[in-house]
């Protein structure tokens, strides 16, 4: 009799555990972390000098390693790897052509923000810059867009950084504008033609306009096609080894 009661008790507990496991797995499905993005990319630039640039190829982003890779075929076949604030240029034979320091933070790239589901506020309210900006004003425009003005609250940066304005439609980032401290518009970006792939909301067209002090402007329009999320395969590209930069030989040390 006692054994039967114990067995019944154990079954009851097992049922509860199974239920909890089910609920947890259900929640985990919805909180899925995306880790890779691949797309065909075409970048058009119109420079203030009147010159144009066209860059076409594929872009790969690996979130765990914060690595951004461009496999380009136009203007020439080459690979560009951006990792840890360094940009590496490789030729079609994967030989290092050049490397340079950059201040691009892949954590704030459109790829990382989209995979993390933080593109809606440009990641301004989280991560390393959490606490730098604070919402100053929220307005609703006639067309339904929500325009949020963010001001710098970090004391050390108040004299360096200006406000940021962003417009959202249906909780998606539509446009963002960066200002200097005297409220002059420095640049703005527009995010259009959103697509939902496996739950990742990604804009297929991004247009950036940077304003120069002399009234001219540089325009860059990036178009993404064939966007793939968390695809398997092509690991050799996503995990492309970081090229080793050969340092100049030092002089012979005296013996």
């Amino acid at each position: 009799m006692l054994g039967f009661l114990c067995l019944r008790y154990i079954v009851k507990i097992m049922k509860k555990i199974l239920f909890l496991v089910f609920v947890c797995s259900f929640q985990l499905t919805f909180a899925q972390e995306f880790f890779r993005l691949k797309a065909d990319v075409s970048i058009k630039d119109k420079l203030a000098t009147g010159a144009y640039r066209l860059t076409v190829g594929k872009v790969y982003y690996d979130k765990p390693s914060l690595t951004l890779i461009y496999k380009l075929h136009f203007p020439q076949q080459e690979t560009i790897i951006i990792k840890d604030t360094t940009l590496y240029r490789l030729n079609k034979n994967d030989s290092l052509l050049a490397s340079q320091s950059v201040t691009i933070m892949n954590e704030f790239s459109i790829f990382h923000l989209s995979l993390s589901g933080r593109l809606a506020d440009y990641g301004i309210n989280s991560g390393k810059i959490n606490g730098v900006y604070k919402v100053e004003k929220v307005e609703k425009e006639a067309d339904g867009r929500i325009v949020t003005t963010w001001k710098v609250v970090e004391k050390r940066l108040v004299k360096i950084l200006g406000k940021i304005k962003m417009a959202n439609i249906d909780k998606k980032l539509d446009a963002i504008a960066f200002y200097d401290v005297s409220d002059k518009l420095l640049s703005q970006q527009f995010f259009k033609d959103y697509v939902n792939i496996k739950g990742v909301i990604f804009p297929r067209q991004v247009t950036q306009i940077s304003y120069n002090s002399d009234g001219t402007q540089n325009i860059q329009q990036t178009t993404y096609k064939n966007i793939a999320i968390d695809e398997t395969g092509e690991d050799n590209i996503y995990n492309h080894p970081t090229p080793v930069v050969v340092l100049p030989k030092s002089g012979n040390s005296p013996k």
Binding site: K44, K46, K165
Partner: protein, 212 residues
Amino acid sequence: MKRKLSIIFATAISFFFVACQKKQYAFVQKGTVETYAQAPKAKAQVIAEVTPAAVEATPVATSEEVVATTLANPAESLTASNDVTTPAQVQALKYDEKSINAEFEKLNKLEEYVNANESTTIEDVQNTELTKDLKLDSNVTSTVAAGDLPLNIPAFWWGCVLGLVGVLVVYIVTDQDKDQTKKALYGCLVWVGVWLLWWIFVVLIGGGAFWF
């Protein structure tokens, strides 16, 4: 060694300028230069109040006009100017699809062709109908590293706001990119010009009181 010396020299000059500015600011704080201190403050407030409405009401200069100006005298695009009104005239967060498309009209044919023919490189299309009226720049690094400057602030403003320190920042960060450094230098020159004008103005208005 020579490079290091020039960097040290530039930094020293920057510190000197900053020190001078601080001294000047102290005088302004003391009220020694009353006339100057109050005027710009009041003006700034007026601008801050008027700006949102003004931005909405100001007719936007079409991008074609801007392009026409640029193409008429490309050299002008590299010339520094004190006229910094244009960014304020642009409507923020308003996407003018027509004008943006018009900007890339010439490039679209080439883009279509390149997308359709994946193995195409710039050598294949040079001196063809596709690139006939196009001044093509093949600096890919600048493209993928667009907005690469710290805090997404253009080179000119780094020079203009931080002077020689800003130029140095741009020079180091862009890995000695001549174009960007040049822009920062122009910004720096504008800053120096404004700074000198300010000093002359202060000396004229404040007179000897400023110096003692």
